[in-house]
């Protein structure tokens, strides 16, 4: 419901052209006092973005109050946002400040602003215009010094056209628009996000981040991530909880990701053609991915016979052994032997 930001967890990760443009824009607007409207699908990081804006603003030492407007019924939302006086309604046994008052001097993040009932939208508009509030049941007008950031997963312009959102409020909110791209539109950032979240969850487990297999990366790249970064984060947490072999392989990936990935053609690693868009890639990491997948192929078609696999790859048997170790394929091989012992012959 209400969250006070925890600085260590609030970070936007991405080096794609879209994210770099976004981060630069956030830098520009963080010290402004104007209202921000963050639009993005569920899981794209609206609250993280709002937190970041707050933390890099002059208001950072004052409160950051996040409220989801979807949580409250039409009757409750007014009292939640603006507070109430004792006796304003049944059950209002004492005076209670609203979220705007709690955010005094700081920032209020009104998430799911599209869920604010139309009758309430007028009152919100008044706050935006006059920077004053009135508690429910009170005639006293209180000035508020709060920066407003609104968040929505819907297209507010569309809602305005349908008559579901007030046009005047839309314009008041949409002073500094921030659009968060869905993850499927910035696939280049997926490996970076994987590293980020895996590192976080393995550190919590007290372990080093393991190597990520080429197959896992490929499956993550092909998947559409309808739940965006949040879904990817959960997938990484799951891996950190279940991985037993020290290398993240395809078996660590949830089947919904694997099955969708299996239906899609491989993602070509597109490289930007101009220096402006180019982001660094690790040549060593790319070469190692390729090496691991070729060694995996050779071992597979030679039924695990390393001498034959070495012949297929035109390397010495001893070289192949070293490379298998380097790619982390050795442990899995041992695991396979164990498995063969217990497997029932066909």
């Amino acid at each position: 419901m209400t969250t006070v930001s925890s600085p260590s967890d609030s970070v936007l990760v991405g080096r794609s052209a879209k994210m770099r443009a976004l981060l630069e824009f956030l830098n520009v607007i963080s010290n402004s006092e104007s209202t921000v409207l963050i639009t993005g699908e569920s899981g794209t990081g609206k609250e993280v973005t709002a937190t970041l804006i707050h933390q890099s603003s002059r208001r950072k030492h004052r409160p950051f109050i996040a409220v989801s407007c979807a949580l409250f019924s039409e009757t409750l939302i007014e009292s939640e946002l603006f507070g109430h006086e004792r006796g304003a309604f049944t059950g209002a046994v004492k005076d209670r400040p609203g979220r705007f008052e709690l955010a005094e001097g700081g920032t209020i993040f009104l998430d799911d602003v599209d869920d604010v009932p139309i009758a309430m939208q007028v009152k919100l508009l008044r706050v935006l215009q006059n920077r004053t509030i009135e508690r429910l049941g009170s005639t006293r007008t209180l000035p508020v010094n709060v920066r407003i950031i609104a968040g929505t997963k819907r297209d507010l312009r569309h809602m305005v056209a349908e008559g579901k959102f007030r046009e005047d409020l839309y314009y008041r909110l949409n002073v500094l628009p921030v659009m968060l791209p869905p993850l499927r539109e910035r696939r280049d950032d997926i490996p970076l996000l994987m590293d980020h979240f895996l590192e976080r969850y393995f550190r919590r487990r007290g372990d080093d981040t393991p190597a990520i297999s080429a197959g896992t990366k490929e499956a993550f790249m092909r998947y559409d991530w309808p739940g965006n970064v949040r879904e990817l984060e959960n997938a990484c947490e799951r891996i950190a909880q279940t991985c037993t072999c020290g290398t993240m392989r395809i078996g660590c990936v949830s089947m919904s990701i694997l099955s969708q990935a299996a239906k899609r053609p491989p993602v070509a690693h597109t490289l930007p053609s101009s220096l402006d868009e180019a982001t660094p890639i690790s040549l060593d990491a790319r070469l190692q991915e390729l090496e691991a997948s070729l060694i995996g192929w050779a071992l597979k078609v030679s039924n695990g016979n390393k001498s034959k696999a070495a012949e297929l790859l035109r390397v010495k048997r001893s070289t192949l052994g070293d490379r298998i170790e380097r790619c982390g394929l050795g442990r899995a091989e041992a695991a396979e032997k164990v498995d063969r012992r217990v497997a029932v012959p066909a």
């Binding site: 078996g251 099955s259 899995a332």
Partner: protein, 74 residues
């Protein structure tokens, strides 16, 4: 009797991803209402992976071949 070709067709979509990691899935047997597969290679020894792949492959197979009652790991 479940068509072996149908099961193979579904598995062949999942297989490249497993193979990229040096693993594989082998269709061992098919009978009236079930199929038996064996996981080999990389993930075969990991309990988490076996469960994920077992559950997942069964779900995908059932989705496309409703007459499939169960999948066995052999």
């Amino acid at each position: 009797m479940i068509s072996r070709d149908k099961v193979e067709a579904v598995l062949s979509r999942i297989r490249p991803l497993l193979q990229a990691d040096g693993g594989d899935i082998v269709l061992v047997e098919v009978d009236d209402c079930s199929a038996g597969v064996r996981l080999t290679g990389m993930c075969a020894g990991c309990p988490s992976a076996r469960m994920t792949l077992y559950d997942g492959i069964e779900t995908i197979l059932r989705d496309e071949i409703p007459e499939l009652g169960s999948l066995r790991l052999v």
